[in-house]
Each structure stands twice: as structure tokens, then as C-alpha cells.
């Protein structure tokens, strides 16, 4: 395994609209970095740039400390798992997994051993003679993974590898991936739009927005102190309340927006210090908790409370000062 670094990488397809804007990041050897962002934010392009399927307009891409800008995909020694899996439909599972080794002129017995070890690791031993058309979605996903594993590449690039699986399988595979990559001490770049995948899988998360790097850090760091209003709204579910600062009694000229997570909003039955009355609009049970939508004067606030807590009519809401995130007019964190 090796480290992967990007230095001021930019890419545009039409020469006008940047798809990736001046992105710099480092994935140290053996770490998992998740690139998270909404659709169209350039995260897949970022991965394709590293794989060599696209050429960067400016900037440098380093794998294992060496610049690979001028190298073909085949000479970059990275493995990629596609969202569609991109399994070769006319080859059986064994052939699919062994193609990369054959192309590298590895001896037949060595190929056999490595293919079977990868297949065994992913529970594919009984499926080696099947064609992709005769596999379930989860099995195809594992073949795609085995095809990447067998290479023993310098880094793994995964492009939304779980998005075509159903919810149960996705959750299970997510945990398996984490264990697998930990065992392999693999360097992984993992692209997803699913923040739960990002939070649970990664050592660090990079948030991409309109091609630019918005914030990069440990998952909890992003959750606890989002650097921008965008990250604040993007990370966390239910979404953070983002209000005009004045609505929560902040009159600092530098502060435009104030944010507070639904779980940090205190809901009381009786008025107290710094509380304000709000009308209950909607109750959404989420299991152990329920999500309340409260409103006053056109301002809506959502709060999480225990499912068993009785609520009705007018409630009194308090926003604890140490739980409030503040952002300026450009959306940057002010503290």
C-alpha cells in the first residue's frame, strides 16, 4: 500500500465550468478517506483523476510519493470498484478476478492461488464458475471487490460501491468493508453521497461541494465543528437547524446564520430562563426518539426528544449557547 496525495488539482470538461476546483488532500498509507458530497459535486471525477481515466488540467497527483500525472491507468497500480461493478459479462467469476493478473503476466499457479484466496475471503468460492448474470447484486458487488483485492494494489478507489444494494445488505457490507480494509491496512479513497457510510467507514472525511474541498477531518470533527454552513447542513441527520442569527438572539454583525442540531434543542413544558414559546406543528416518530417541528413567527425549528416524552400545544424552547454554531455571510464558521 502507499499514500495518495493531490496537490491543487483542477479539472474542467468544457474549459469553462470547473468540475474539480483546486483540490489538495492527503491519504496517508493505510488510511481510509471518504469523499462525501451531493450528486454532481465532482467526487467521482476526483476518483477518475486518481485512477487516470481523466487527465487533470492543473495540479499534481502523487501515489506513493511519485507523480503519476503522465501515467496510463494501467501503470498507476490502483484498483477501482465501480458503482455499476463493471464486471465483464462474458467471463465467469474466476476469469473476472484473474484478468488483471493475467495482464501482468503472473504465472498460472500464482494466479490460481491469489484468485482463490481473494474469493475465499469474500465468500465466492462456490461461485467461481458462474457468469455475472447469474449472481445476485450482493454477490456481484463482492466479485467487484475481489477483483480489486486480488491485485494487491497501492490504493483502492471505490465509487459508491454500496449504492446498488438494498438497505440490509448495505449495512452489513459496510461493516465487512471496514473490517476488510483494516485487515489489509489498505489505503482507500471511498466516494459516497451517504453520510452514514462516510461517518462509519472512514478515518477521515473530505466534503466536496461544487468541485471544491469544503472541509476535511475526522468524522466526529466534522460533526462537532463544521467549518462551513454547507457542512453543518450536510452532516447529521436529522439536519441541523440553520436560522437567521437574530432568531436565536444573536446580534453580532459578523454572524449571519446560527445553527443548532435538533438533539441539542431543549424542549420544556414550562417557560424558564431564555426560553421562547413555540407551537407544535408536527411529530415524526423515529423509533427511540421523535422529531418535533416547532414554529413561531414563520421560523421553524426541529427538535429531537425521547419517544416517551408527552408533548402537546405550545412548548418552550431553549437554545443552549454552547451548542450554537455560528456562520458569517460567506457561510464560514465564526469562532
Amino acid at each position: 500500500m502507499a499514500s495518495v496525495s493531490l496537490r491543487n488539482v483542477s479539472k474542467s470538461y468544457d474549459g469553462k465550468t470547473p468540475v474539480v476546483r483546486d483540490v489538495s488532500l492527503d491519504v496517508p498509507d493505510g488510511q481510509i478517506l471518504t469523499v462525501l458530497g451531493p450528486s454532481g459535486c465532482g467526487k467521482s471525477t476526483l476518483l477518475r483523476l486518481i485512477a487516470g481515466l481523466e487527465t487533470a488540467d492543473t495540479g499534481e497527483i502523487l501515489i506513493g510519493g511519485e507523480s503519476v500525472n503522465d501515467r496510463d491507468p494501467k501503470d498507476r497500480d490502483v484498483a477501482m470498484v465501480f458503482q455499476s461493478y463493471a464486471l465483464y459479462p462474458h467471463m465467469n467469476v474466476r476469469e473476472n478476478i484473474s484478468v488483471a493478473l493475467k495482464l501482468r503476466h503472473i504465472s498460472a499457479p500464482a494466479i490460481r492461488e491469489r484468485v482463490e484466496s481473494a474469493a475465499a475471503r469474500l465468500g465466492l468460492m462456490d461461485l467461481l464458475d458462474r457468469r455475472p448474470a447469474h449472481l445476485s447484486g450482493g454477490q456481484r458487488q463482492r466479485v467487484a471487490l475481489a477483483r480489486a483485492l486480488v491485485r494487491q494494489p497501492k490504493a483502492f478507489l471505490l465509487d459508491e460501491p454500496l449504492s446498488n444494494l438494498d438497505a440490509v445488505l448495505r449495512e452489513r457490507t459496510r461493516a465487512e468493508l471496514r473490517l476488510l480494509f483494516r485487515d489489509l491496512q489498505a489505503t482507500v479513497l471511498y466516494v459516497t453521497h451517504d453520510q452514514i457510510e462516510a461517518m462509519t467507514l472512514s478515518d477521515r472525511v473530505a466534503i466536496l461541494r461544487q468541485g471544491g474541498l469544503e472541509q476535511m477531518g475526522a468524522p466526529l470533527e466534522l460533526y462537532q465543528s463544521p467549518a462551513t454552513e454547507f457542512v453543518a447542513g450536510f452532516i447529521g441527520s436529522p439536519r441541523m437547524n440553520l436560522l437567521e442569527a437574530a432568531c436565536i438572539g444573536r446580534f453580532d454583525p459578523h454572524v449571519k446564520t446560527a445553527g443548532i442540531r435538533p438533539e441539542d434543542v431543549q424542549v420544556l413544558d414550562q417557560p424558564g430562563a431564555d426560553t421562547r414559546p413555540m407551537a407544535l406543528r408536527l411529530i415524526e416518530p423515529l423509533g427511540a426518539q421523535k422529531l418535533l417541528t416547532l414554529a413561531i413567527d414563520g421560523v421553524e425549528v426541529r427538535a429531537l426528544v425521547a419517544l416517551t416524552r408527552p408533548v402537546s400545544g405550545t412548548l418552550h424552547v431553549r437554545f443552549p449557547a454552547d451548542r450554537i454554531h455560528t456562520f458569517d455571510a460567506e457561510g464560514r464558521r465564526t469562532d
Partner: protein, 272 residues
């Protein structure tokens, strides 16, 4: 079930244009069954079968090779690709008789543009009667057929190429493949059904070739371009021997059916 009545018009049409002639031919063949042994010793038939097979194999092989090259070119992104695709199909859109007539003029020994060009280039010293000499007449009908039907093969192969997902090529590039390996490991095997389809259509058409040869050479010179279809025609209309003509027709049809069945096995999509 009762909705089957809506199939009646189409069914009646098929009975008229396919069923009736087929039944009529079979009946004529049965009545001429006594001439079946004649086929074995018929030197003209043997010669026409050799000509037909040689013509079919050569023209279809050339069409497949050229069609694949054109399809690959037209599948690559370039400026004006839409126009190029439209232009390439033109020869195929022409009626065979019309284009055969044009080729006859192009290859004409006295007035033909082909001789003119070769003379000006200094490649020949005197005009050549391309359609009048045995060795060049055969090459001429192959050339005209390749010119006309390569577009058809190109079209089928192009459709086949377009159905290959792009990410397979990308995955293989990352897996370590260069251009040739990508062609060998993805393009060719994934194109197999399209190739088999083009091969089936073209072989059936080429084996039954009539109009092109009829207009271009009339089967001559010295029977060098005399195909089975021409021989059948002559039996039916020149020698007034419909029984023998029908016997050859049915034998020929069954052979082509058998060939098509073998080819369609190769057409099975290996992905399934």
C-alpha cells in the same frame, strides 16, 4: 385468446406472399421428384454451387472485416460523426439493380471511369474488359457486393459496439490493459452476437444472390459468375423445366436453413 383474431390480417398476408409460393414450390418439387438423381451428375449445378460458395465466402469475409473497421472508426468520437454515419449507409440504400447498372458503366472497357483512372495513373497500358474476362469478372461482382453491403454490416456492428458499456473498458484499463488487450478481451467477445447476426444475414443473402450478377455479368463469362440462383432461373424460364428448378430450389433452401441454424447457435448471447 380471443385477441388472436387481430393477427388475421398479418397472417393472411403472410400466407399469400410466403405460404402460397412456398407451398407451390414444394408441390412443383414433389411433381419433379424424378429429377432428384439428376442433381448428382449435373456439372453445371456443381459449377454454380462452387461459384456461389466462393462468391459468398469472399464477399462476406471482406464485408465483415471492412465493416468492423468502419464500425470501430464510426464509434470513435470525432467531429462530424453523425454525418459520416449517414453517408456510410448510402450505398446500402440504393436499389441493387440501379447500383449494379452504375458499376457496369464504371467498369465498362471503353467508357468506364475505372479504366480511365487506371490509365491516367499509368497502372495499365490499355483498357481492360473487367466484366468480360473470367478472372476479373468474378472479382468485379465481389467488389460491387462488398461496396453495397459493407454499410449493412457496419450498421449492425456499430449497434453492437454501442451496446458495450463504457465502464467495462475503463475497468479493464485500470486492470492493466492496453488498446489491443481491450479489443481482444472486451470488444471482440462482446461483439460476438452482432457478428453472428451480420454473418447470418449476409450469408443467406449472398448465397441467394441474383439481381447483382444478373445485371452486372448475366452469369458470364464462361459461367465464371453463374450462381445457383441464375441456374434455377434458367431451369424455370429458359429450359422450361420447373420440376428440376423446384427440386434445386428446395435443396438449396434446406441447405441455407441448416446453415442459418448453425449460425444462430453462435448468435446466442453468452451473457445469458
Amino acid at each position: 385468446m380471443k385477441n388472436h383474431r387481430y393477427l388475421l390480417p398479418a397472417g393472411a398476408f403472410l400466407v399469400c406472399v410466403l405460404g402460397f409460393p412456398l407451398a407451390h414450390t414444394l408441390w412443383t418439387a414433389v411433381s419433379g421428384a424424378a429429377s432428384v438423381p439428376r442433381m448428382a451428375g449435373d456439372e453445371i449445378l456443381a459449377q454454380s454451387v462452387r461459384v456461389t460458395l466462393a462468391f459468398s465466402l469472399m464477399s462476406v469475409a471482406l464485408e465483415l472485416a471492412l465493416g468492423l473497421v468502419f464500425a470501430l472508426l464510426l464509434n470513435a468520437p470525432f467531429r462530424g460523426r453523425g454525418w459520416a454515419r449517414a453517408i456510410v449507409i448510402l450505398p446500402w440504400a440504393l436499389p441493387t439493380a440501379v447500383m449494379a447498372m452504375s458499376w457496369r458503366w464504371i467498369l465498362n472497357d471503353t467508357y468506364g471511369v475505372f479504366n480511365d483512372v487506371l490509365l491516367r495513373l499509368g497502372l495499365i497500358d490499355a483498357p481492360v474488359a473487367w466484366l468480360g474476362r473470367p478472372e476479373t469478372a468474378f472479382a468485379s461482382i465481389v467488389l460491387a457486393d462488398v461496396w453495397k453491403t459493407t454499410p449493412f454490416v457496419t450498421l449492425i456492428l456499430l449497434a453492437g459496439l454501442q451496446s458495450i458499456p463504457k465502464d467495462l473498458y475503463e475497468a479493464l484499463r485500470i486492470d492493466g490493459a492496453g488498446a489491443w488487450s481491450r479489443f481482444r478481451l472486451i470488444t471482440l467477445p462482446m461483439l460476438r452476437p452482432a457478428i453472428a447476426l451480420a454473418l447470418t444475414f449476409r450469408l443467406i443473402q449472398a448465397l441467394g444472390v441474383f439481381d447483382l450478377v444478373w445485371v452486372l455479368t448475366g452469369g458470364g463469362p464462361a459461367g465464371r459468375t453463374y450462381t445457383v440462383s441464375l441456374y434455377i432461373y434458367d431451369n424455370l424460364f429458359r429450359y422450361q423445366d420447373p420440376g428440376y428448378g423446384a427440386v434445386i430450389t428446395v435443396t438449396f433452401m434446406l441447405s441455407v436453413f441448416a446453415l442459418a441454424a448453425v449460425l444462430s447457435m453462435g448468435m446466442q448471447d453468452r451473457r445469458a
